[in-house]
Amino acid sequence: MATRDSKAAIHLLADKIASIRSQAQPYADRIKQASPGIVKLAIHEIRVCNALVRYLGDLLVGTFSEEDLDLEVSKIAHAILILARTTRFFASDDNLINHYDSLSPWENLVKSISADADVIIRSQSAYEFESYLEIRDMLERILPLDVSRADVFRGFPKHFIVLNIPIVQAWNVLHYALLAHEIGHFIYNVEQLEQIPLAVVPEYRERLVEFFKRERGTTPDLEAFDDEFSRFLQTWSKVITSRYKELMSDTFGAYIIGPCILFALRDFGLPGFRLDFAPGDGERFLGYPSFRKRFLLLLQAIRPFTEGTFRTETADNKRAVRRLRRFLKTWGLALRQPAAAADDRYGLIEQIVDECVTRALTKVSAANYPWRYDAALYRTELFELYNRILDDIPPNEIRNGQAAAVGTPAHWQSILNAAWLYYLDFRTEKFDVFRWNDGKLSEDTINHRHKSLRRFNDFVTRSIELSIVHERFLKDKRCLEGILDDPVEIDD
């Protein structure tokens, strides 16, 4: 039975839970004011709180030993810490999807990957582009096993995705290409690719022992309980898993959005970092593959898009295709050259990661994903849309060279890729404000480029929204079985 001290602790925990619940309640009450994702999250967080309070009540009347009771109280205290962080996170902002139509394709994309998925796109300045995928798992994990999950998680989607685009970057549509990498993390989970390293690493066991000897200067005692080797293995297994996951997410990103992910990673991801990380880079080195490796893998992933015949409209388009291919080839050759002072100390870890990626690619390359951006579509639509941008016409529809024909809405990925091509290749108007800090540009020039970029952003965002509206209209029209096809006379 609970003692006076443990009873006091249990009451304290119940008070904390009540406070968290009161923070979540206003969000759960906003059912009619949109943002269904936030409402769903708040409702389920309240249910988790209620389940924990009931559990605390059971502890008070149960027949637990004093030690068991202490352990239960400690565990619930940790659950509350995690719950409080979740509440603070979702209660501090709204869902960007409600404000920007141009983000809705991402929601549709996620639902085409898994029907039982919900998305919130947030914009919190303090954080980088990232996805948070395991909300349901996390809320389940903090509950004691005695609590039935069926009631608590009724109606909660299997996958609940929170994507964050920092507010300073959310205004620039070119940045959206990086969301593809974050969705790639989701696909990695859905495809259960985390199993591959567990199959690969035992094959490298002896070489890992050698690696340990080299690093620590001692032979590991594989049988001893306090050996360093176990901890060593734990650290490096985390490194391998993390780097492999990033690389596969990049690959899936390329499957989703096409070549522009490579340019986005270079222009928005690389600045401020080196091409190859060193141990001195800490978490960056441990948790992320080098940009060199990421770019090389992306160059491989986008090859189906850039090889093959492009539908071009002008001689200048043909030259642009040649420039694009030359640019990618040069890039690939430059990246394949080893860094001046190549450090092969961690070569084994790289080999294991490469092996995991190779096996994963074998698995996924054979799959026929309905959400994949068709490479042939990219080559067909790219230059028509690019030419519209050159003519200052929103690149929202495809007319296939027939001026009088009714156009079809362009694919949003094609619009984004055309915008990226224009951003990279158009010679008259310079946009680059992200790599300007080489000291060569005047402040006026930078301001001018910023203005141009903002104008361009509005133009492209509007085009994506127009294509979305067009697509919706066609869908509605199909539903209305031809009623909208009737000619409308002036007198009508």
Partner: protein, 165 residues
């Protein structure tokens, strides 16, 4: 924002909840009073043992696959193995496995006991080795829970130190 720290803490908490539930389930069987969701707990217990086996990197792949047909992550498995080792290290030397083969044998014994409980075979009908192992398994999960809660508490301390700086 929520990040890997929270996920890792939630993982450890889940493992501690599981260890606690297994400890209580085993004790309740000894007392012939079953928990309502004992089947689910035992099933998850077997998966946990499968994870520990996988994380040793020495276990036969088929055996791991039988316990974890849907597979597991590398880091999660190596970490589960690490905590199991720490738990054995904290136990008395007489019950501590001292070779990789002994680790595998003891894990196999754990699986057998959990399967016996799942099949609701009366304890008196179990082979003597498995009967003897039952109390040891309950102690193992009890010690594992204490270690995991200790780990969580030390991480809270780390966090408060982070804020202090």
């Amino acid at each position: 924002m929520l990040g890997s720290n929270e996920l890792e803490r939630a993982d450890l908490l889940e493992m501690a909840h599981l260890a606690s539930a297994l400890k209580r389930t085993i004790r309740s069987f000894e007392a012939e009073k079953k928990l309502t969701n004992h089947r689910e707990i035992l099933e998850r217990g077997k998966q946990f043992v499968g994870c520990v086996m996988a994380g040793s990197l020495f276990s036969p792949r088929e055996e791991v696959h039988r316990l974890l047909p849907e597979g597991a992550g590398l880091y999660e498995s190596v970490r589960a193995y690490g905590y199991a080792r720490r738990t054995w290290a904290s136990s008395t030397p007489s019950v501590r496995p001292t070779t990789q083969q002994a680790v595998l044998d003891i894990l196999r014994l754990y699986v057998k006991c959990l399967e016996n409980l799942e099949a609701e075979t009366p304890i008196t009908a179990w082979p003597p080795l498995e009967q003897q192992a039952l109390t040891g398994i309950a102690s193992f999960f009890g010690a594992l829970e204490r270690i995991l809660v200790g780990e969580l508490n030390s991480r809270s301390l780390d966090r408060s130190m982070e804020y202090a700086y």
